[in-house]
Symmetry: C2
Subunit: 515 residues, 2 copies
């Protein structure tokens, strides 16, 4: 009880860009993550929970020229040895560290899944938070594209398992090597000087990435001299020759070119096989990359992936080769994948738009090498948990896992023990139940509380009821329905309550809730 | 592809005091937390996941005299407005912030549970980590001791739900107010000067807290002049008079005094009722605190709690009033509770000792007030997740939730698609299965991998098998048993493998795993 300096009251606020998750928000996310984990587990993936805190060195965000290397991450220095620590910004960099650290004990290949929060020290914006969940599955130590195919198939299964119907999603697959082959064919790679044309390549890759939004014309402008957007801002282009630009455009449109061709020359009512579409796209890509070795290697891999998926029954309605996918560009070394939800939702202005991407990933063969010096192949997928959950909510596919409890009201505060015993009886039958623990004086407040908690039933045992050996059970759910359009007084007169023998209370409640 | 400065390889290490959790460690913890959440939920508690990052101001660890207020917490400063942020060190301080921030939308009383990691910037030690899990349940806005009783009962239910048998645990309840009453009776509180005797009170409280370890004699020394331990270190005592010391000792021994009395004067074979024990202890406490108003208020509360628990069938075999419980001393304002596991385990030196405390909590009526200025009553419990999990492991009560997958081996790398299809078939029946994705050249490596993964079965389909329409299924679990004492060559000859028709593979595996 030492005297304390008087201080102003602290503000009751989360830090900027952070938020809390309440009740059903937590329960729904957990429910979804449980379903995802169940699929991952069935595929042989083992859970891993790495520490939330890593050394900045291990995370690989070390910036030599600044005193405090915290761009993008939340970082601080240890008191004793001044090591820089940081909160993880994803689950992949920690996996590389874990695998490098424990590679002698871990099985190879190592299939692992991980789910949990990650942190980004970024400017928060609407719907953009500095702490969010990721849910990843990765295979470390498997060089074969069978590992990539497995991840794609599993991603499709996962989306269906959480409640996205077949037809409402598509997993699109591309390969960084094909992209490199196209750049090679377009003479945008100079084997004798890897850094030459780096700027042009950057512009090309960013342009392809914007294809969904800008379409043919916008991308062509970016490949050429540049593009002025609606606001008047000018983005410098790559300055490609028309021939180079045409090559890139043919690449982006490889899939739709096949589809246009199919539309012009229909092959009848037969079901279009995965191999047919994908083989056709690959043939087309082969023309574009010409003799580029890396390009042809990439196409071979796409064909293998396509065949593996076909053998497992993943048709083009679920997984398709699509050269317009270019994601995480600096990072991936081979196949890349993206899952998109294809149904429409209304945007903030009420306009319909496609829901868009909810997961992405690919092969990254160099991340573990940072630690060990030896190349360790790895491939994986990351699901954007909050976006997928938003999609499920938009589709009405979240379970009402957070039903309110049955409320035992308090009519006589000296009989608290009886009310507690009543709630205990209900709970012993698995029924969610609680006693009102606020000030019981104003009964109206108890009913308001029940309303706020979404309680299905309220149980009342006053002196009269006690004498008669009964309890009154109010059906609040029914009461709510009846109350639409009725005044509070009228509602209280409605028959949405019944008198039940005290001895039969549990059976009555069970029946009510079951129905 | 800009040129990068060459840097030394990063170390593949967790920061000091952090660790990773693998496979079954993650699964077992999740399983336990799920069971705990299910009990909490049944009691009407709603989940809350607050942000892991809080302002230092909101956490209440602000130290005015240092530039970097990071004792005990991991803290850093925002780039723009220089706000100090920190990782939460428990789940209670964030709850107070959340309730103060959202009190207009939240129901009152607000019952919430929370589970997740917390971080402490402390010196790590053996088995002592800087990130660990907590699992809390709290009721905010309920002044009645019925809320405390509910928490105690729920704690007992929770321990049983996760697999601690009745008889292997005890929930002990005390009340800070009784303690204050005893201090008042011992003239260690001066109402006209609250800070007087603060040092003595501190020594007394710490001495009581050590009663388990030091026993009567050691505590009496600490109450008097002081105590010299085995190593020769001297701890200064409170310097109480013999009369004051005797009063404190009577308080600590209130429960055992009753038990001794009961042993001397047995009341026959009748079951000792909760009320009998607890009422006797309370009578005894009443004598000790004398006329102290706060002391008598505390005893009244203990009696109420005892009656409420009795009405719900929690006998003294589960929950008992025990004045020797003094925990979180600076923090609590009323009832305090502690759950102890009473079975013995062997310590690091092989000596048997009681497992000890796995959960604790109490009433803290002033935490929300920091933010709002208005007193908001609150009470809650925190389970030490890692300790409870260790107890369950010691008792053999963790489910083998992380069984290895069935391994489809790769005999012919050109037939990967067939193997993948086989695994997919198994998975579609809910069987955990995977294809070997390492280099398949050395078959021995595939079996070593299966061993490391704890695979129950390995499936082999080489060219011969393919021609005959069969597959070979190795029973690795059986193989392991046979292998005890056998050489690798001998083991390979054992009949722990069977040929099965390819068409009947799934049924065969299902039966094998089911049996």
């Amino acid at each position: 009880m030492a005297k304390q300096k008087k201080q102003p009251r602290p503000k009751a606020e989360t830090p900027k860009g952070f938020r809390d998750y309440f009740g059903h928000e937590v329960a729904e996310r957990e429910d979804m993550l449980r379903k995802i984990a169940e699929v991952y587990r069935r595929y042989g993936y083992d859970p891993l929970e790495s520490s939330a805190v890593e050394t900045v060195e291990a995370l690989g965000k070390f910036l030599p020229d600044v005193d405090r290397p915290n761009d993008g991450v939340f970082a601080w220095q240890e008191d004793d040895d001044k090591t820089w620590l940081a909160l993880r910004y994803d689950l992949t960099a920690p996996l590389a560290r874990v695998y490098a650290q424990h590679r002698n004990e871990l099985p190879t290949p190592y299939r692992r899944y991980a789910m949990g929060p990650v942190w980004r020290n970024e400017k928060p914006g609407p719907g953009r938070f500095r702490q969010f969940y990721q849910c990843d599955a990765d295979t470390v130590g498997a060089p074969t594209v069978a590992a990539d195919a497995e991840i794609c198939g599993m991603l499709a299964e996962t989306l269906e398992a959480v409640g996205i119907d077949r037809g409402d999603y598509i997993v699109r697959v591309n390969n960084r090597k094909v992209l490199n082959g196209v750049l090679e064919a377009a003479t945008l790679i100079d084997p004798s000087d890897p850094s030459r044309f780096a700027e042009e390549r950057g512009i090309v890759l960013r342009a392809i990435d914007k294809y969904d939004r800008l379409g043919d014309e916008g991308v062509m402008q970016l490949l050429g001299k540049g593009r002025r957007d609606e606001s008047g801002d000018f983005t410098k282009g790559a300055g490609l020759t028309p021939h180079q630009g045409a090559l890139i455009m043919r690449f982006i449109n490889a899939k739709s070119a096949y589809e246009d061709n199919l539309a012009a020359n229909p092959i009848g009512d037969v079901i279009v096989e995965q191999n047919l579409i994908n083989a056709a796209v690959c043939d087309y890509l082969r023309e574009i990359v010409g003799p580029s070795p890396i390009g042809n290697e990439g196409i071979d891999e796409l064909i293998q992936i396509s065949e593996l998926l076909d053998a497992q029954g993943y048709g083009p309605d679920r997984i398709v080769i699509d050269p317009s996918v270019v994601r995480g560009l600096g990072y991936y070394t081979g196949p890349v994948f993206e899952a998109e939800l294809t149904f429409e939702i209304l945007d903030e202005k009420g306009r319909p738009r496609q829901f868009g991407s909810v997961a992405g990933g690919g092969r990254y063969d160099d991340l573990v090498k940072r630690f060990t010096g030896q190349e360790v192949p790895a491939t994986g997928i990351s699901i954007g948990v909050d976006r997928l959950l938003a999609a499920l909510r938009a589709k009405g596919r979240v379970d009402g896992v957070a039903k309110g409890p049955v409320l035992v009201t308090v009519m006589d505060r000296d009989r608290m023990a009886d009310y507690q015993a009543m709630a205990a009886e209900l709970r012993s039958e698995g029924i969610r139940a609680e006693v009102y623990l606020g000030n019981p004086k104003n009964f109206g407040n108890q009913l308001k509380y029940a309303d706020k908690r979404d309680c299905p039933l309220a149980i009342i045992e006053g002196a009269d009821e006690k004498d008669k050996g009964i309890v009154t059970v109010k059906d609040l759910a029914l009461g709510k329905k009846l109350a639409e359009g009725l005044t509070h007084e009228e509602w209280r007169e409605q028959p949405a309550q019944e008198e039940v023998s005290r001895a039969k209370l549990v059976d009555y409640v069970k029946e009510k809730l079951g129905g």
